[in-house]
């Protein structure tokens, strides 16, 4: 039965069903493109497909998402996709991971995938997935659409080092748009509704097809090896442009990465015996850059120190919005909020001790090499 199923695939000279069966793919985003990607991966007989999404199904998703039905409204998107995609080929191992991939996916787990495909719907998530794949050395496909176009970008971080990453070609205007979502203190603004971009099943299916086709080519060697590349297809004009993406020496994400970072699995606890701290006094000044910005200070310009600081300080800045900048005592928008991402080791020891730092990973430049400390509490 299984042999019959893939007989037509076996007639394709460049196609290895065994290689596909041995591969595993992380699909980040179970929206319109994510549905199409999972459909193609399941039909092709990829061994393992993990689908990450935090969102629930809404009625407007039903016009673009091949696996979603009315009965799924209000339920998790990733689980709904897995339910229907399992009917395509029961031998494909499909898994729904609900929640924000930033919280659910460690670098260690990411590094075990053959590739990741990003089908999310905002710049922040795309930037974060790019950062994770860059660190973990995992091949990445970035897929996006609007109402008439589909774009696919390939970043073969796993196959070769030194090429462009997603942020290398992100224009300043995109960062400016992102900055609009944050107050000058660095807190997320309230009531910043995300811009709604119209999309269609047509562009989603084109993007899903091209994304999987691109993912299939990873791992090739010699002249067939991929470099970072973008294909933009206009489904109405019928035009398509393919370009190479060169590395940007001023890139916000990879500028300082001269070589592939070394990943070190680290216990996320910060207590140090006093004798050890004394012996390694120099090391205690080592600067670490955390994956997440932390709120480190909370004080009203009018009232001084606030008891509420205990609720906020040493937690992730992303967990709060600018409503906390209004003083709970004098009701003036006068709270000075300090947010930092860089810390000396001794600072983290003092702040956290036996508690975990609320960050995903940290990196440090040690001996001319970037070391990434992956906090893998969940695994």
């Amino acid at each position: 039965m299984d042999g019959d199923r893939y007989r037509r695939h076996e007639l394709i000279d460049w196609f290895s069903q065994d290689r596909l069966r041995a591969s595993s793919v992380a699909v980040v985003g179970a929206g319109a493109i994510g549905n199409e990607i999972v459909k193609n991966l399941a039909l092709l007989g990829v061994g393992q497909v993990d689908i990450y999404d935090f969102d629930n199904v809404e009625v407007h998703n039903l016009t673009r998402s091949v696996f979603l039905r009315e009965a799924d409204i209000g339920t998790g998107k990733a689980a709904a996709v897995v339910r229907r995609a399992s009917e395509v080929d029961a031998s494909v191992r499909l898994r729904a991971i609900e929640g924000d991939f930033w919280n659910r996916l460690s670098l260690g787990r990411l590094s075990r995938y053959s590739c990741a495909i990003g089908a999310v719907d905002n710049f922040e998530a795309r930037i974060r997935l790019n950062q994770m794949c860059l660190m973990a050395g995992v091949n990445l496909v970035n897929a996006a659409i609007d109402s008439r176009r589909a774009v696919i970008e390939s970043f073969p971080f796993g196959d070769s080092w030194g090429g462009a990453c997603y942020e290398c070609h992100l224009p300043e205007t995109a960062y400016a748009r992102l900055a609009e979502r944050y107050s000058c203190g660095g807190l997320r603004r309230r009531a910043q509704a995300a811009r709604q971009v119209p999309t269609t099943a047509v562009t989603a299916s084109v993007a899903g097809a091209l994304a999987v086709s691109t993912a299939l080519r990873f791992g090739e060697t010699g002249d067939a090896r991929q470099s970072a590349r973008r294909v933009l297809t206009d489904t109405i004009a019928g035009t398509s442009t393919a370009v190479d993406l060169g590395r940007n020496a001023a890139c916000a994400a990879c500028e300082n990465l001269a070589a592939r970072p070394a990943i070190v699995r680290a216990r996320n606890r910060w207590s140090v015996e006093p004798e050890l701290a004394a012996a390694g006094a120099g090391a205690m000044h080592q600067v670490l850059r955390l994956s997440d910005a932390l709120l480190t200070g909370y004080e009203c310009a009018n009232c001084g120190p606030l008891a509420q600081a205990a609720q906020y300080v040493n937690r992730r800045a992303a967990d709060f919005d600018d409503s906390i900048a209004t003083c709970p005592r004098c009701a003036a928008p006068a709270v000075r909020v300090e947010i930092r991402q860089r810390f000396e080791l001794r600072d983290l020891v003092e702040r956290f001790g036996d508690r975990p730092v609320p960050a995903k990973f940290a990196f440090a430049d040690i001996g001319g090499r970037t070391i990434c400390f992956d906090f893998e509490d969940e695994d």
Partner: protein, 83 residues
Amino acid sequence: MPNELSLVVRTADQTRRAELSVDSQSTGADIIQAAVDNWALPADTDYTLVNATTGRALTPGESLATAVRPGDVLEVQPVLVAG
């Protein structure tokens, strides 16, 4: 003029196209801004510039002098973000 560069700029759907001479020290961002202004492209979209002749994308701050030769065709592409 040694500092002038003649080139063609078009939109990704190829419905807009212009032949122009620009200062070779201009950046991709300058060309994009001119395209958005002159062709009334949607202002709520971000754009990137690619050299369709060489098959290479320009990085955001790259000057045309290093990435474009006379007669090259530059394409203004939207940065898509929806999934």
